[in-house]
């Protein structure tokens, strides 16, 4: 397609495993979403979003282990940059999902523009990263 997996990894800055984790969680989430929209599942929106939050948690856990391993090998610079980037992505995505969940549960009355703002910030950061992508 438009990108190879290697190019996506280079641009987005997540490893293949982390990408896979997010895709699978998205799949589970979409199944739950369809069930919720069809009123088969009568739980709160927080339950529907559990797969997404779980993948965030696993991603954070995985990143912290990689950080420790790289640290032990004495590669402090790579470890720092990698963990900082993962943290930025995770925090922004988590903020977006939490705001969206609150909005759907009527726990806040922000506009969708404000809820989407973490995603817009993430897009700006991705633009900066795109400048570093080789040729």
């Amino acid at each position: 397609m438009l990108f190879s997996l290697k190019e996506i990894i280079q641009w987005i800055g997540l490893s293949a495993f982390e990408l896979w984790l997010h895709v699978v969680s998205l799949l589970v989430f979409s199944v739950l979403l369809a069930l919720k929209l069809e009123d088969v599942l009568s739980t709160t929106w927080w339950t529907v979003f559990i797969p997404l939050f779980a993948s965030d948690g696993l991603h954070a856990y995985f990143s912290s282990i990689v950080f420790l391993r790289l640290n032990l090998e004495g590669d402090l610079r790579t470890a720092g940059i990698r963990t900082a980037w993962s943290a930025v992505v995770l925090v922004l995505l988590f903020a977006f999902k939490m705001l969206l969940c609150q909005k759907l549960e009527d726990q806040n009355n922000l506009t969708f523009a404000m809820i989407m703002s973490p995603v817009f910030i993430l897009l700006q950061v991705l633009m900066i990263r795109a400048c570093q992508v080789g040729n």
Partner: protein, 131 residues
């Protein structure tokens, strides 16, 4: 296209789509959902056009410059078809047919995500075999 151009194009289309989506959701406009999805249609059209050109070139020359097999290209075509199917079904559901079940609209998405997850998983296996 060079990688930078592809990245820029993807980025712009995502940005336009998100802006239109926010406008529509916040009630700034009451445009047709198909118009809201225009950036995504443009994105898919470019991908399909590139794929078609590569397939034609492959058939003409008998080989691919990037060593992508015909089977792989057909697989990409299938994945793209599912992505397009999901977008169209979702638009139709939101705009015209409010009665059809969400399952129908989500079915292509599940296929698409399964294919993507499978593709990434295959790359793990390939790397494992090479090590």
């Amino acid at each position: 296209m060079a990688l930078v151009h592809r990245v820029l194009f993807t980025w712009l289309m995502t940005l336009f789509f998100l802006i239109l989506l926010v406008l529509r959701l916040d009630g700034g406009t009451v445009w047709n959902w198909f118009i809201i999805f225009v950036p995504l249609w443009a994105f898919d059209a470019i991908i399909l056009a590139m794929l078609a050109i590569r397939m034609i070139r492959h058939c003409r020359n008998g080989y691919d410059t990037d060593d992508v097999t015909m089977r792989k290209k057909l697989w990409y075509l299938l994945v793209m078809a599912m992505k397009l199917g999901f977008q169209m079904a979702l638009c139709l559901k939101l705009q015209y047919f409010h009665d059809i079940a969400y399952y129908l609209a989500f079915l292509p998405l599940w296929g698409f995500l399964l294919c993507v997850a499978g593709d990434i998983f295959r790359s793990f296996l390939l790397r494992l075999r090479n090590d």
